[in-house]
């Protein structure tokens, strides 16, 4: 089995140019704007003098590739610049926000699985039955609801009317965090579940029709252990791949949700930075998130290989 993991070094090597590309894109985002970034930061009311001063300070008078080189070397040393609003290193801000966002995302993922797996299995055992139609109706609706709106609705119903959970904020202790993060995580989960359910339901239906399920039944295996040992292990494989791809969307969605629920994670950091026109911070967050997604991609491939013994990523062309 470890033999099949030998693709990892190659995969990481493959990811490096992508990582570089990410840095270039982030750099270009702020430096290739129409107009002067200094103007964008200071706003249109700025005086020419202050614009010139800021430009010099930001090194904007140097040629583009030199600016990128500076940017990259700083980056590799762990220096993402100074936040214009907080006057603190961006790296520090990002790193203190990361655990918050990561716990939100992980929480949402766990909730999604708790909701999706039973629903998908439920629906798949009787396709076109009543419960299947109900699940598919939810899937359709779930994709049509704006995430932030779902969050607001949850706040309205659960926090305001029923007073079961707090309206916003993050809390102090880890237990507090679980409590405060429940509604935001649930909001993300509600949006994530349709994708998982659709994939899992389809693959479960396919697995249930397979010959080897017949073989297992002929051995007298049925019910929960049939599902666990034979069905789920096979049906989960394509779904893992889909979840991996959608993790990016999940992180992106958490951005807005953090704003709705006032959670001090990367999302709030970025959005506040946007309104404060804090360039370096915006750059830092975007960079971090993108690199995170690249890493998640590699991890997904590893998990996929571990789950499906037929896969040998070292030999096949990247089927992407």
């Amino acid at each position: 089995m470890l033999h099949r993991l030998r693709f990892i070094p190659g995969r990481i090597l493959q990811a490096i140019p992508v990582a570089f590309g990410v840095t270039i894109l982030v750099f270009l985002m702020s430096h290739l704007l129409p107009g002067n970034p200094a103007v964008a930061i200071l706003g249109s009311h700025a005086t020419p003098a202050s614009v010139a001063a800021l430009s010099k300070h930001l090194g904007l008078d140097k040629p583009l590739w030199e600016q990128y080189w500076l940017f990259l070397t700083h980056l590799l040393q762990g220096d993402l610049g100074q936040s214009l609003t907080y006057q603190q290193p961006v790296v520090g801000l990002v790193f203190s926000a990361v655990p918050v966002t990561l716990s939100l995302v992980a929480y949402a993922l766990v909730l999604s699985l708790i909701i999706s797996v039973p629903l998908a299995g439920w629906a798949a055992t009787k396709p076109s039955g009543v419960r299947d139609l109900a699940v598919r109706a939810y899937t359709l609706l779930g994709q049509g609801m704006p995430q932030f709106w779902v969050g607001i609705m949850l706040i309205l119903l659960v926090a305001v009317r029923l007073r079961l959970f707090p309206v916003s904020g993050y809390g102090q202790t880890p237990l507090d965090h679980l409590y405060y993060l429940f509604l935001p995580a649930l909001t993300l989960a509600i949006s994530m579940c349709p994708t998982i359910i659709r994939s899992l339901r389809a693959s479960t239906i396919q697995v249930l029709g397979s010959e080897y399920i017949g073989t297992a039944r002929s051995k007298g295996i049925a019910g929960a252990s049939l599902f666990r040992v034979h069905v789920l292990r096979n049906a989960a494989i394509p779904t893992v791949s889909i979840v991996g791809v959608n993790l990016g969307y999940l992180v992106g969605g958490s951005l807005v949700i953090e704003h709705v629920f006032a959670i001090p994670g990367l999302g709030s950091l970025m959005i506040n930075a946007i309104f404060a026109r804090d360039f370096p911070t915006i750059q830092g967050v975007a960079l971090f998130v993108a690199l995170f997604v690249v890493i998640v991609g590699i991890v997904t491939d590893v998990v996929y290989t571990l789950l499906d013994p037929r896969v040998d990523l070292a030999n096949t062309e990247a089927v992407r």
Partner: protein
């Protein structure tokens, strides 16, 4: 024979019922017995209903296909009326099945040793290591080289012949009394076929396991089975001991099958195909199902359905469902 047969199928009919439409009968009123240690073959073309019959016994009918009438009795107990739990227990411990395509019939993400060990673990209550030892032992008995090592392989890493041996090992792991085989050698190379067949025969003889063997290949039936039933369009049209039927067929369809099969002993004999094609089951004609293709048919054949009846000379189990059998076969000149 006064003792209860191991398996007794009586008046079994299978079909598809759709709301608002007429029922399509796929298997029509068939009956046969299988004694302990017997080797019973069911021969027929694709669509004759032979696979479905097997699946009905194993309780593995595909969605939509139902038992319309009749009984399936194992050791005297009706399988359909017994509680589901008991039937499952039988499936684990006494009745086993081997499928046609071992690649799709084995769980692709589970090691083969585990898959063989699964049944003894659950049904015989063996511990994990005891079951694995049993699995390796079974693999050895089925002629798989280096079984301890091979047990850790996944199905896609093995050849077709090895996979089928795994299936056999898996099926025989709990020493079943009845083994149902659904065309187990059809998907294999001819050279491997013979090995697998011989293996099956050997193992079943050693353990006195009864075999119900479904195939379209007459050579295989000849090799492996002692008794056979010929199915056409969902009915058994001829029955008897293999050597009796092959030497002296009493149904035009059986004769047609034999005439169209290559024979090593007569390499230059002309192969004569049976004209026409199997009937549309949704639109069953009255009368004998083979009548449209039968060159011996008379008027009566189109209007009433012949039943299985003993033929002369009286031999054990020897029956044919043809009105004209006496005229066609016994009046024949050499």
């Amino acid at each position: 024979m006064t003792e209860t047969p191991l398996l007794s199928v009586r008046n079994l009919s299978l079909g598809v019922q759709r709301k608002g439409r007429a029922t399509t009968v796929i298997v029509d009123d068939i009956s046969f017995d299988v004694a302990e240690g017997e080797r019973f073959g069911i021969v027929g073309e694709s669509g004759s209903g032979k696979s479905l019959t097997l699946r009905a016994i194993a309780n593995l009918l595909p969605a939509g296909v139902k038992v319309l009438s009749g009984t399936i009795a194992y050791r005297g107990q009706d399988l359909q009326t017994m509680p589901a739990k008991s039937r499952r227990r039988l499936a684990g411990q006494e009745i086993a099945m081997i499928f046609q395509e071992p690649m799709t019939a084995l769980n692709p993400v589970m090691r083969v040793g585990e898959q063989i060990a699964e049944s003894p673990r659950r049904n015989l209550g063996l511990s994990k290591s005891a079951a694995m030892d049993l699995a390796i032992d079974m693999m050895r008995k089925t002629g798989i080289p280096d079984p301890a090592h091979r047990a850790r392989a996944y199905p896609h890493e093995l050849s077709g012949g090895l996979r089928q041996r795994i299936m056999i090992a898996m099926a025989l792991s709990c020493s079943p009394r009845l083994l149902l085989c659904d065309e187990p050698t059809t998907a294999l190379d001819v050279t491997v076929q013979l090995q697998v067949l011989r293996l099956l025969e050997q193992l079943c003889e050693d353990t006195e396991t009864a075999l119900v063997f479904v195939t379209h290949d007459l050579g295989v039936v000849n090799q492996t089975c002692r008794e056979l039933g010929v199915m056409y369009a969902g009915e058994i049209v001829e029955r008897g001991r293999v050597k009796d039927v092959f030497a002296d067929p009493r149904h035009p369809y059986t004769k047609g099958l034999l005439d169209s099969a290559p024979d090593f002993d007569q390499p230059d004999r002309e192969l004569i195909a049976i004209a026409g094609f199997p009937p549309n089951l949704a639109d069953r004609p009255d009368g004998c199902p083979f009548q449209p293709r039968c060159s011996f048919a008379v008027e009566r054949c189109a209007t009433s359905r012949p039943r299985l009846e003993p033929v002369l000379p009286v031999l054990p189990g020897r029956e044919a469902a043809c009105f004209e059998t006496a005229r066609i076969f016994q009046g024949a000149t050499a």
